[in-house]
């Protein structure tokens, strides 16, 4: 028993010190084990599929219907969003600021989950041969998924953002307060009804008598609320001109299986006041960050207030569905903290 403990402690120590011996041991074992795992996967696939068929059929049917509905709703918004992103990138490029579009990426397929009840990681089929290095951020079509923690020749391990070891600086973007202004359509000479106006705005505002529209299908500036009575008036939501979205930096921390990640603020006194559920959360970037700025992470789902000056803790809904990862994209972006001297 003493020998067992001693051997294990030596192995743990060597591995934590980053010993080349333990790395090559893992690598060799991986090369030996890979064919066995492939055979096992092929042999057990019918059983796995049967299991998923039995346990997830109803969920998949319901989810499919919801997704179809959601896709229909979001088609117009996606076109508008794409136009906005392109415009944003052009503006950033014009001002010489870094953008995600300027970072090369590699696509990879998820080939396995972590065989453990206590860690949150997946394995992908790309490695050093594709230029992947430890620390690189991993995302899917929805948003941030995790980061590379181990890399081999043709595979790599991705630590998911729900892993308790995962931490990342993020920005919380509080939506600006909105103003609802009602203007009658048919009689331009009639009075303009202002429902609420922030103090900073001059009450002598001019409201167009026709509804504000865009030349992009399905996209409207702000949101237009449909009138309850037919064509009597239209309500436009106008962001106050003096208030752009306010950002605050925090630390995102994974909390393990079945628990949503949280964000706590670096500064206990936030500049932008009360955080609203639904506020988007994006990566903060910076020279020491593990990810470039402005990758979508999720939205605030719940704000947990704490006593004293500790500030609130935000629970977040991750936009990426980590339970159904198939393909991911690795940004070939390496933070300074992970770079090694040549």
């Amino acid at each position: 028993m003493a020998l067992l403990v001693l051997t294990s402690i030596i192995l743990v120590t060597l591995d934590l010190q980053g010993s080349a011996a333990t790395k090559s041991m893992r690598s060799i074992f991986g090369a030996v084990f890979r064919p066995v795992e492939s055979v096992a996967r092929v042999v057990t696939r019918p059983a796995t599929n049967a299991w998923y068929g039995i346990t997830h059929y109803n969920d998949v049917t319901v989810e499919n219907e919801l997704l179809r509905e959601k896709i229909a709703q979001q088609e117009g918004a996606a076109v508008a969003a794409a136009a906005s992103v392109r415009l944003s990138q052009e503006l950033l490029a014009l001002n010489g600021l870094p953008t995600l579009a300027g970072i090369n990426s590699v696509s990879a397929q998820v080939i396995g989950d972590s065989p453990s009840n206590f860690s949150q990681s997946v394995e992908i089929d790309q490695g050093t041969e594709s230029g992947i290095k430890v620390g690189m951020p991993v995302l899917n079509a929805a948003g941030l998924v995790g980061r590379i923690t181990q890399v081999f020749a043709n595979r790599a391990v991705v630590m998911l953002i729900t892993d308790p070891q995962y931490a990342l600086s993020v920005k919380i973007i509080n939506a600006p307060k909105t103003t609802v202004t009602t203007a009658p359509n048919e009689d331009p000479a009639s009075a303009v009804t202002i429902v609420s106006v922030p103090d900073s705005i001059d009450p002598q505002i001019t409201v167009p008598t026709v509804p504000a529209t865009s030349n992009i299908a399905g996209f409207t500036p702000g949101s237009i609320v449909a009138p309850r009575t037919p064509i009597i008036s239209s309500s436009l939501t106008i962001p106050p001109g003096s208030n752009v979205s306010v950002r605050e930096t925090g630390i995102l921390e994974g909390r393990g299986v079945g628990r949503v990640p949280t964000v706590r603020f670096i500064d206990a006194t936030q500049r932008f006041g009360v955080v609203q559920p639904g506020s988007p959360i994006v990566t903060a970037g910076g020279s020491l960050s593990l990810a470039p700025p402005d990758i979508v992470v999720g939205t605030v789902s719940r704000v947990k207030e704490r006593l004293g000056t500790a500030g609130p803790i935000l629970e977040i809904d991750i936009v990426a569905d980590l339970s159904n990862l198939s393909f991911v994209r690795i940004l070939l972006y390496q933070p300074i903290t992970e770079r090694t001297a040549p």
């Binding site: 402690i9 074992f29 795992e37 057990t44 059983a47 796995t48 065989p115 206590f118």
Partner: protein, 164 residues
């Protein structure tokens, strides 16, 4: 004829293949069945603490190689669990198959719970998941259920080869 340790490695390789594929995908009650740990514990119940600890160490190192945790952590947990399972004869004079099955289920569940503890010892988080009770109950029941399958496999893998 291959030695008992060679057979153990080969059988463990197959079980590890099942662990990372079928058992990793099929998670009843959102709990993965740790068949590698149960196999190590089975070795302990059949062949005693010394053989069990060695088998646990070997199986654990193999499992470590596919985990993202520090190498040596699973071997420590597996070895300790198998060693503890090997103490069965101190409590039961002549263990039967069902006393061994109960031991495999209970010690397997305790061994799985030891993972977060071992992780916390090396500074790797190590908190218990919220459904820890479900994990324990499931592992006890499933460990006892698959013990009748693991016992003959382990008995064959670790049987002493005749010399000469």
């Amino acid at each position: 004829m291959a030695s008992r340790w060679t057979r153990l490695v080969l059988v463990s390789l197959i079980l590890l293949g099942l662990q990372t594929t079928l058992l990793n995908d099929v998670r009843p009650f959102d709990v993965m069945l740790p068949v590698m740990l149960l196999f190590a514990v089975t070795a302990g119940t059949l062949y005693g603490s010394e053989i069990g600890a060695t088998a646990g160490l070997i199986i654990g190192v193999m499992y470590d190689c596919v985990l993202s945790m520090p190498l040596g952590l699973a071997s420590l947990v597996f070895g300790a669990a198998a060693y503890a399972a090997g103490l069965l004869p101190f409590f039961v004079r002549e263990p039967t198959w069902w006393t061994r099955a109960i031991t495999i289920g209970v010690v397997g569940a305790v061994g799985e719970l030891a993972f977060p503890v071992a992780q916390s010892m090396v500074g790797f988080g190590g908190h218990f998941p919220p459904h820890v009770v479900v994990v324990v109950v499931f592992l006890v029941v499933s460990g006892m259920s698959i013990a009748p399958l693991l016992l003959p496999v382990c008995r064959w893998a670790l049987k002493e080869s005749p010399v000469g």
